[in-house]
Amino acid sequence: MANLSLKHVKKVYPGNVTAVRDFNLDIEDKEFIVLVGPSGCGKTTTLRMIAGLEEITEGELYIGDRLVNDVAPKDRDIAMVFQNYALYPHMTVYDNMAFGLKLKKVPKAEIDERVRKAAKILEIEPLLDRRPKALSGGQRQRVALGRAMVREPKVFLMDEPLSNLDAKLRVQMRTEIAKLHKRLNTTFIYVTHDQTEAMTMGTRIVIMKDGDIQQIDNPQRAYDKPANLFVAGFIGSPQMNIFRGNVVETEGKVALELSDGTALGLTDDAAAKLKDSGYVSKEVYVGIRPEHLHDAAVDPLTGEYSVITCKVEVAELMGSETYLHFTKCGVQAIARVDAKTSMRAGDTAELHLHWDKIHLFDLETEKAIY
């Protein structure tokens, strides 16, 4: 069992610089948790506190039922995997994986058993006699994972392990790590700045900014129901389009009006929420995901939808879809439309948007309203 619990954990560096404040998180056994956020958000500091490499200024950290604040890293039953897959150049893959166990004076037969077991899981058995130089980047990364696996830790800690791989390999490796997690059935804590990695790998993601947790949720919920404007923009690629709009009420019907006069309809629930919370006649942030804007010419919507007109500045054919770049109300925006679109730069496009695909955020607190 390796459930982890961080209770009101805080990290303050000398000079009174707070890196992490009031971090609360319960991690279930066998969970794959991803800490994600921009540079300086405190994700690596949090991971280092879990590893014991960084002292916890305030709060408590439990691994299982054991308070480990003052337990040395080597006694926490964890293993770390880094972004720079540092292997021993003159050793074979087998020896690279066995080395740590030899240092711990694990019996030879047990070392052999563990190395072969890990090699089988990682599908690197045929490579055991090779040296790192003869391996591809992906194979080296697998050996680095294998080195951690043979320790048979309760928790795997991974600090941006894929960030120095090329784009293609990164995609391949993130699938492999996710598969590995399923096979090992152990707790994984993974740090990345890449929201795509977070979305594709984590069972839950912890989105951080400036030392604070912004949202803890499963990837789908974080995407569908972002807790605030930061999460809305950070999760999803291309990013969510954010406009400012006025909440207007005409003949008892609540709607949104962008600064250029574009009217956006709202579902009854959203309208009621805005009205009940006193947002009528106030300005709010309006978030629209690029894929929720449809080219009316090739993919018209039915039911309750609004129409947004825009002048296409750039049309990028991505293969299965086309990105239409345009400026609306002073905001550079993107619509991710069907590849069959005939829209080109300079054309005026008519885009459809379902009423229930609008995200609303408070102008001051930036928290989600609906």
């Binding site: 009174n16 707070t18 300086g40 021993y88 240092l103």
Partner: protein, 330 residues
């Protein structure tokens, strides 16, 4: 250890015997095809005897207490063992003399004769990078083992609970970074690797060792997070540290007003660090911080209004950077 390994491979080639060595620090060194299974204690107990099919030999100078193990078979010839023992003794003696002279060189009390002896002993080790490994806790043997397996270590010694080594690598910074990660992965210990510079002659070892110590001091003084420090890349910190105290005070007062000191404790401090880390590149900094370029410009404007330094301008940025370093001095 790598030398010993090579020596054993060579000896096995000459004698056609399987051999292994148990060293004074209780490490077993053997070629890949050997399967010797013996501990240091067992070797001590069985010196001069046969143990599990291996003949255990101890050198004449028992103080060394390392053991040569030769696979015992009916074709065993004692001459082969003696030959290897001789080679081992000579290898250890050579290492020892280097260590003694190195230690004296580090203490700065090596006379001309000693220096010339050191020069002679280190002939095969130089040129090489002088490395200092700090924060080795109580795992120095394991860390030494990791070090020698991560890069080409020409010679090494333990000095004041640190490891001093002369190493060769194509990219020494990268190798040191790999070493740090290896130690962290295997032992969960975060040590520091300090590169003092490249020595071509034995007489350069002492000043380069002093460089390592200075770099380590600067790390503590300025609270640097890096585990790999290259003395040659620390000009900014060296200049800042050596500034006249009155000038330091002037810089602190000029930039770090009460208002600004409060401001930099939050996101603005992170922004400044990231802006410098990205070589004053607005686009890269904004991307790393996940903020809009205009937000970054707004924050830089805030700094300008508060301090009078426009970080986008070279003249302002280098002076601000100096003040920023000075402000971190403990």
């Amino acid at each position: 250890m790598a030398d010993l390994h090579r020596l054993l491979v060579q000896a096995a080639g000459i004698t056609e015997k399987h051999m292994a060595v148990i060293t004074p620090n209780e490490r077993l060194v053997c070629p890949e095809d050997s399967d010797i299974d013996i501990t240091f204690e067992e070797a001590c107990k069985n010196a001069g005897k046969n143990f599990k099919g291996w003949n255990i030999y101890m050198p004449e100078d028992a103080a060394e207490r390392f053991f040569l193990c030769i696979r015992a078979d009916r074709y065993y010839e004692s001459e082969a063992g003696k030959l290897v023992m001789l080679l081992l003794n000579s290898a250890f003696e050579k290492d020892d003399s280097v260590s003694v002279y190195l230690k004296r060189a580090l203490e700065g009390n090596l006379d001309a004769a000693g220096l010339s002896m050191l020069e002679e002993s280190l002939k095969s080790c130089l040129p090489g990078y002088v490395l200092l490994i700090d924060n080795i806790e109580d795992s120095r043997d394991d860390i030494l083992e990791i070090l020698t397996n991560t890069m080409d270590i020409k010679t090494k010694l333990i000095y004041e609970n640190r490891i001093l080594a002369v190493a060769e690598a194509e990219n020494i910074t990268e190798s040191c970074s790999s070493f740090i990660k290896n130690v962290l992965s295997e032992l969960l210990i975060e040590c520091n690797a300090i590169i003092g510079g490249r020595a071509a002659r034995a007489s350069e070892l002492y000043p380069l060792y002093r460089n390592c110590i200075e770099a380590l001091s600067l790390k503590h003084i300025y609270g640097l997070g890096n585990n790999v420090l290259d003395y040659d890349g620390m000009y900014g910190y060296r200049v800042a540290y050596n500034l006249d105290p009155s000038l330091k005070e002037f810089l602190r007062k000029k930039v770090f007003t009460d208002e600004f000191s409060d401001m930099v404790k939050g996101e603005l401090g992170i922004t400044i660090e990231e802006f410098f880390r990205n070589n004053l590149n607005l686009t890269d900094t904004a991307a790393k911080l996940y903020i809009h370029r205009n937000t970054l410009l707004y924050r830089l404007e805030k700094i300008y209004k508060c301090t009078g330094f426009d970080l986008k301008k070279f003249e302002d940025s280098w002076l601000f950077r100096l003040a920023w370093i000075v402000s971190r001095e403990r």
